[in-house]
Amino acid sequence: MVKRSDMSDTGLPTPDSGPRTPDSGLRTSDSPPAIDVADMTAVYHEQPVLWDVDVTVPAGVLMAIVGPNGAGKTTLIKCMLGLIHPVAGRVLIQGQPYKERRSAVAYVPQRGSVDWDFPTNVLDVVEMGRYGSLGWIRRPGRKEREKALESLEKVGMAAFANRQISQLSGGQQQRVFLARALAQDAEIYLMDEPFQGVDATTERAIIEILRELRATGKTVVAVHHDLQTVPEYFDWVTLLNVRKIASGPVEDVFTEENLRLTYGGLVAVLRNGNGADHNHAAAHSLQMEAAP
């Protein structure tokens, strides 16, 4: 760890290093949080998409990032992964810059971000999860193959190992991506809309796997759209709309008030309704979001 005095001596911008005063109160004893985002501001085409966002993800939680379209959910994930360089703020993974803890992080991109007509098969895609630990030039071998098969087994896709990826359904594609992340053998899993456009069976299968990951002490962060299932699937949630509205345990943070703040006036209609519990709020705001 670098001492603060060292930093002021260099006088240089310090996006990736430096200690931080604990501001979240979430830190358990000595171990640093899985992900610590501080003062994150990101712009796209000179337009801010994240404003001074602080989010701390304690190790071992299953966290959803929710918010309306254009709230910066994907941007936040990409900032955590170092794919987008923020104009201000920094990310620490287990107390260190991303570069140092790369092997601790696995990424599941949006399913639509790749060309599924690429000439390759399922096993090959899952093996890609091992490329990071292979290093330059070295080819995947038997070990990587076994690891990939094992991951496919976990997502129930072992029978599809030799299937060309263009022949997969949406749900199967998502499982393959999840298997690739599992093959990375990481401690933190960052997922961009893992439930987008998948069938009900796959959704249940995926959430089972996420729960298993949590049970073994892993941390999962997923961009999520279905407010209704947030309390059921996740134990931690970040409400985001360009700025962070709230972040913390679902039972504390996933409130009607916070949802209204997140989704603007859309949920305000609820006040005329009769329910104030989470699921009601969720269902309403969901419809509202879909309406425009």
Binding site: P13, T14, V242
Partner: protein, 373 residues
């Protein structure tokens, strides 16, 4: 200036203006490379039509060759619809074949076809003034000028007649269809215009350099204006200026006129890219500098607001160590704090920064503005 020089410049100007009109829509519809495909494959059309009419300036040759240009579009779209190749590959497969067949035909039947492959491909404007339209002893001017003038007139009338349709089909094809404005017909109409213009212009600038005149000026105009009508006139103007400047460059170097015209198109574009008042590199650099300073002050205000009244405010909102919290370097932080104080956004109170009402308004309105977006 000799009259031949004036003729050449008139033809060049007419060609540039005629190319700019369909070019604007190609650029806006992200189909610029279609002009490359069409301008290559019309060679085949020119050769085939030449077998029939035996003259390079017959209107039938032009119409026949333009049909092959349209065929290119149809073939590319059909290939794409099979789902076996992507759009860019489809373009890259179709036009080289049609072009190659054209080149081979010219090479093999060179005795019967008095077509010079180089002049089709590269154009030879220098000889254009000597090919004149003479009706019962009256010299009506160079043939090239008549052809390009006619094509310019056609493009202009199509533009004026179907402006509404073109505009809507370009910006919202779905809406155009629902309003019964037939975006498909507009699409093929536009492609016909591209083909026709490319065929007419091959004599003047050669098929490959048609692309420069179709894409360059509209791309430059795109950096100067947000209005479609302005963009069209500006494209025509920039095209004509580049073409005439190109002529004089070629005259000075004793080099290919078409090549020099394309070079000048490049120079025009580069100049616009750097110096455009609204979107040029220089302007946006200056704007970004100012924005960065404004932005940083807003960020500072938001940072203070976020921690205001929380137990951590004592730590987060202190001048000392602020650079570490915001991850700016020390000089920049000091500069921003000084600017924020000068603009009455913050007050310093024993090393602790406190938002003024103005600063709080700025932070809140930035956030509200963002949330509403």
């Amino acid at each position: 200036m000799t009259s031949a020089q004036i003729d050449i410049q008139l033809i060049a100007a007419a060609t540039a203006a005629a190319c700019a009109i369909p070019g604007v829509f190609l650029v806006l519809r992200r189909m610029a490379m279609m002009s490359d495909a069409i301008s290559h494959s019309i060679l085949l059309g020119i050769v085939l039509a030449y077998f029939v009419v035996d003259s390079t300036s017959s209107p039938f040759l032009i119409a026949g060759a333009a049909l092959v240009g349209l065929l290119t579009v149809v073939l590319v779209e059909a290939l794409q619809r099979t789902g076996l190749v992507k759009e860019d590959a489809a373009i890259g497969l179709v036009f080289p074949l049609l072009f190659s067949v054209g080149v081979i035909l010219i090479a093999r039947f060179a005795d019967n076809v008095h077509l010079d492959i180089d002049s089709v491909l590269l154009g030879e404007l220098a000889f254009a003034p000597f090919d004149r339209v003479i009706v019962s002893g009256w010299d009506l001017g160079p043939r090239g000028l008549w052809i390009m003038g006619a094509i310019l007139a056609i493009n202009l009338s199509l533009l004026l007649l179907f402006f509404k349709e073109l505009k809507l089909a370009t910006f919202d094809a779905g809406l155009a269809a629902s309003l019964g404005l037939a975006p498909v017909a507009v699409h093929y109409g536009l492609m016909s215009s591209v083909s026709l213009t490319a065929v007419g212009a091959f004599d003047a600038v050669g098929s490959i350099l048609v692309v420069a005149l179709m894409i360059g000026p509209p791309a430059a105009a795109y950096l100067l204006t947000d209005r479609l009508t302005t963009m069209i006139w500006l494209s025509m103007l920039l095209g004509v200026v580049s073409a005439i400047a190109g002529y004089w460059l070629a005259h000075w170097l004793d080099a290919s006129i078409a090549g020099a015209m394309a070079t000048m198109v490049g120079v025009t574009f580069l100049t616009t890219l750097v110096f455009s008042p609204s979107r040029g590199l220089v302007a946006s650099l200056a704007r970004r500098r100012q924005q960065k300073l404004d932005f940083a002050q807003t960020m500072l205000a938001i940072h203070l607001l976020n921690h205001e009244g929380t137990p951590l405010a004592e730590l987060e909102n202190r001048v000392a160590g602020l650079d570490a919290h915001l991850h700016w370097d020390a000089t920049f932080t000091a500069d921003i704090v000084a600017r924020a104080r000068r603009h009455d956004l913050v007050l310093e109170n024993e090393g602790l920064l406190v938002l003024t009402p103005a600063g709080r308004t700025r932070a809140q309105s930035a956030l509200v503005h963002q949330a509403a977006r």
